[in-house]
Symmetry: C2
Subunit: 331 residues, 2 copies
């Protein structure tokens, strides 16, 4: 049989295991021109939370009682399509199923000499591309500037910080444990890290670790952590609004200090984006990220959870800090 | 004697007449290379409120017991400088004094064929330049897009709307009285206007007057009016944060709905600015605004208060909606 995970109910607040259901579907039959894919790695990402709600958005929400989809690396286990052969590895946005059919359209064929193949969901996949495009297209860093990254130990944040260092910036990361802060510095080369759980005065901690103020804030979290960074933004500062994980599970409209005042005072910019806004930069980004990875300038952290059934649990873990770096389910 | 208005105390909340003092200074003596200026028109502007506070800003605050300064049109009444002769008219940021000395440095010499000369403080001065640069450099309007302007009957807002129409956009203005809303449509050519005092559901009113959503929001006010516009922002919308008059007199940090959520959802941008950020666009802007004015494509509204002593009262009136268009004191 063919295990499948469907959205059983739309989460209220933090997603619960009961919002998901593991079902068994029958094995699909491969028709001429099609291939059969076996799921190997599944990417779980905070933004999926948004698609589980029925909220107004230009990306349609997941449908109830239908499979959820996300970035997946799969192996071709049967092929009736000349362009693919058994044993090929591919990646795309695919359903949370053990096996599924594809016509091959839009599939990215992977180079298996780069291992583990899960990097195609992370540092050289959409995660890396999110960091690369958001930082370069909105943040526009110049050497010598200061970048603060929130959610810095997360998948996107850890790559943003490393790119910042490659580009000659002073980089400070904010994360939720001493262990993560230590990793930011020792593994990812951040200049400083701040543990927001144990730091009483975030405003002061940012001022101290950013003696020349904050030119770019790459924001993955929103909320009070961001308020403290905003207070340290320099003139002509750029705030890259990539994620707001602190707000994704909110059931009422989150409120906070109004931003218009400091935006005017500092002639500062806040811009939201999703990675597909910069699709024309993907070829450049993929080439650059792959090159940095091969040169050893870019490293990554993965939290790998084993087993198809564990996908919902891995996803929920994103909201309780269970992951260091990219959260991956290995099937 | 020489009347002068000094900042007596830093306003708490809405400025009061008692925050200002009218003093008499002795007439200055004109030295070689200098000219004596007699104040003719004084510009009072909401942004001056910020400089009356001691708050952290990269523009230094006004000093206590020293004259306040703003945009002024003055007449040369005595000249010991070859570049100026008696009867010339000039404009610059000058002190709130009846008479003052200048070396001539930075003074803009005015063409008296354009009348009244107060337009050099308004539609073809810094007010017009603020509208022009904010709208073109941040808003980047394309023909067919929808622009919403708050504080639309104000000096900057009324020019923004007219430029929007010249550039082929659908333009909706928000103002605080039926009379102002009527003026937006009949005098300034806005497609629609909303009276925020009498409109119960601003969200709905914006949706109805902007059937294709809001591509550009030129924000002069901040606060709940802006929250309603934010809810109608289109994908890739641009929010030009020009002013936040609703918050200038706040004594506590104003709070409101957090913006990160819709910025991400809509891939939208919010950017604050002051006119001097775009100093390299001033020649282009001055030429364009002057041309539109001569062609009759740009009109303006002035509220003229008479008498030097009335400057503080005129300034305070900005915060209670006393002005239609540019607030000017004629001396």
């Amino acid at each position: 049989m063919n295990k499948t995970i469907i959205l059983k109910s739309r989460p209220e607040g933090t997603p619960q295991l009961s919002d998901f259901e593991l079902t068994d579907e029958k094995m699909p039959e491969v028709m001429q021109g099609e291939i059969l894919l076996k799921t190997k790695y599944v990417s779980v990402d905070p933004y999926l939370r948004g698609r589980m709600s029925n909220a107004d958005s230009y990306v349609p929400p997941f449908e109830l009682n239908k499979p959820i989809s996300s970035g997946i690396v799969a192996e071709v286990v049967e092929s009736k399509n000349d362009k693919f052969k058994k044993g090929d590895f591919v990646s795309d946005r695919l359903d949370w199923k053990e096996y599924q059919i594809s016509t091959g359209k839009d599939l990215q064929k992977l180079d298996p000499s780069i291992q583990p193949l899960s990097v195609y969901l992370g540092v050289v996949g959409m995660t890396g591309m999110t960091a690369y495009t958001g930082l370069t297209q909105i943040g526009k860093p110049k050497a010598g500037e200061t970048i603060v990254v929130s959610g810095a130990a997360g998948a996107v944040g850890s790559i943003v910080g490393q790119i910042g260092k490659i580009l000659g910036c002073h980089v400070v990361g904010i994360a939720g444990s001493d262990e993560k802060v230590e990793m930011l510095k020792s593994k990812f080369g951040f200049d400083a890290g701040i543990n927001y759980y144990t730091t009483k005065d975030m405003n002061k901690a940012i001022a101290e670790t950013c003696p020349k103020g904050v030119d770019i804030y790459f924001d993955n979290v929103g909320g009070p952590i961001s308020d403290a960074v905003h207070r340290n933004i320099n003139q002509f500062g750029r705030i890259v609004v990539c994620g707001a994980i602190s707000m994704y599970n909110a059931t009422e409209m989150p409120t906070g200090p109004r931003v218009e005042g400091f935006l005017i005072k500092r002639s500062a910019l806040m811009q939201g984006f999703i990675v597909s806004d910069f699709v024309d930069k993907f070829p450049e980004g993929a080439k650059q990220l792959g090159q940095w990875l091969k040169e050893g300038k870019l490293t990554y952290e993965e939290t790998v959870i084993e087993g198809f059934d564990a996908i919902p649990e891995a996803f929920i873990g994103l909201f309780t800090g269970k992951n260091k770096g990219k959260m991956i389910v290995k099937v």
